[in-house]
Symmetry: C2
Subunit: 160 residues, 2 copies
């Protein structure tokens, strides 16, 4: 049985948090949003215990947010894809990203920038509207590119 | 010292979650966003232990998200207000609200609906744009009104 964190709350925010509010869940989703679909990739990127990652993936699959697809039979290996329900969490990710960029900034700038896919390449603003062409974007219209904060962090790691 | 949940993550989403990702923190913020400013009001609405609520309020004040103001000297009593940093979390609240309304719906409809303040009264969509007049809204331009899901829950409680 799943633990109910917010029993008695007649509130859609509370319901959402029941499903994605556990430690690591949102960062696991970030991985899939940025194209890390395999357990080993996620584990490396997140640096968490394998059992915690496995638990979070199971839960997100059970909730219909991720879909597990087999890409290798022997040994059995899976990739994870966002369902429509999962893709609809994009606004939550964008909101958390922009708030962090603004209020908890990295010294060298944002580690990740969302841009309009294809020729436009404009930045995605906090309403998920392209700053260049004004298009209202969905998760399939955008991609994440490395920002100056990530480059600086990688260089610091290499230098150390 | 504060626990770091996501050490080593060069990521603004992770940074945001370090600050607001603890159990109850977002629902405490929901309380203040909907005008419940006093400890006793929040405690009644959330039904959580007093020490947990006090801890979350302290943390949100320390992080510059809430501001504590005295409204009574004897005994000393405080009200909590959102700072600009706190108000900037509105997009996170709206995103969680809309996702829950869509994917984890209450049988009688949404418990809470955000509407454009004043004469317009249009519904606030998931990009925080007024569905009626098209205005791009901030947290001060909207208010929460009771939806059918909340009315039904209250009637069920009264009948029981």
């Amino acid at each position: 049985m799943l633990r109910s964190d917010y029993e008695g709350q007649v509130c859609s925010i509370a319901r959402s948090l029941e499903v994605i509010g556990e430690r690591w869940s949102i960062l696991v989703l970030r991985e899939v949003f940025t194209g890390h679909r395999r357990f080993s990739e996620m584990q490396r990127s997140l640096g968490i215990a394998r059992n915690v990652l496995a638990n979070r993936l199971d839960r997100l699959v059970d909730e219909g947010i991720l879909e597990r697809r087999c890409y290798c039979e022997r040994p059995v290996r899976h990739e994870y894809f966002l369902t429509e329900k999962g893709l609809d969490l994009w606004p939550v990710m964008v909101a958390l990203l922009h708030w962090g960029d603004k209020h908890l900034p990295f010294p060298d700038g944002p580690p990740m920038i969302l841009v309009h896919k294809g020729e436009c390449g404009g930045e995605v603003n906090d309403r998920r509207i392209c700053e260049r062409c004004g298009e209202h974007l969905g998760p399939r219209d955008a991609r994440a590119v490395e920002g100056p904060g990530m480059r600086a962090a990688r260089e610091a790691l290499t230098a150390a």
